[in-house]
Chain length 171, copies 2
């Protein structure tokens, strides 16, 4: 079985919805695609660090459309791991475990990796929304569409706009 | 720089001292090398699962002799990661971060990996006390002496009894 590594934030967890909601409540600003596109999250949301360290930010994020259904099918076909660069925000660790247990109960603890840098994980296929993680990965790479990577050249990575597209590629 | 992966429990964190202490307090039993050798931790300590899920078990473990001094020097020479199969015990995650911050403050968050299975981490050298982690690792492997691996054939791994021996091999 091929090893498939799937990122959390921005790939199965819709943290943009959380950022937008938190900023509306915090600053009364409602950002649009035009204001978000091409900017990293901490550039787009000025109080980014406050939000990601708030209790509930990660736990209450909605899953990304169709991700549960497709990941469930991929889990039968691949040696699948959820790999999240979560160590930077220690409060997120328990919330991310709880979030996975709630939305992806078919993922067991042996399939979860929380790291700082993804340079130490290896496998055959990586799905991620950040170039910094995909560029150094020695395998097939799928760039998941998010505002911060919008309009950028996908380089050697395959860009996927939706989980339906990933299903077409990997199932 | 070569990537060096170092395990926590039984390699830098002296959890045997914790197990023995907890069992003394819990059951009034004081185990010796003879009663521990060759048995996995959950075979040697009958209330193992209660201990590892107790608040403070991981945070209060003493560092293994000389580990801090040698890891500090290795940190200058290698691309070093602390890799712990910690996801099985979610309560251990924050304690392990706090323990590292206390005893190994020179290790930054980018160097920490908490996983379920170590089959998804890769690098050039792995130091671990468990065969299950070393056997599938595609690189140089050092088996750190612990009662559970005592007397077993080290196979293709280099056995190290102390951190001074690791220093001789890697520094």
């Amino acid at each position: 079985m091929k090893k498939l590594l799937i990122d959390m934030d921005g790939v199965i967890s819709d943290i943009y919805t959380q950022f937008i909601k938190y900023e509306q409540e915090d600053l009364g600003i409602t950002q649009t695609a035009a204001s978000l596109n091409g900017k990293l999250e901490n550039e787009a949301f000025r109080n980014h660090d406050n939000y990601v360290t708030s209790k509930g930010f990660f736990f209450n994020a909605p899953p990304i459309l169709e991700s549960i259904n497709v990941v469930r099918q991929l889990n039968d076909k691949y040696d699948l791991f959820i790999v999240s660069a979560a160590i930077q925000y220690p409060n997120s660790l328990q919330e991310k475990l709880d979030w996975l247990a709630k939305h992806f109960p078919f993922i067991n603890w042996k399939q979860i990796v929380f790291c700082g840098s993804k340079s130490v994980v290896c496998g055959d296929i990586m799905i991620d929304d950040h170039f910094k993680n995909l560029d150094s990965f020695n395998g097939q790479t799928i760039l998941f569409n998010q505002p911060h990577n919008f309009g950028k050249d996908a380089k050697l990575h395959t860009r996927a706009e939706t989980w339906a597209e990933i299903a077409k590629i990997l199932l």
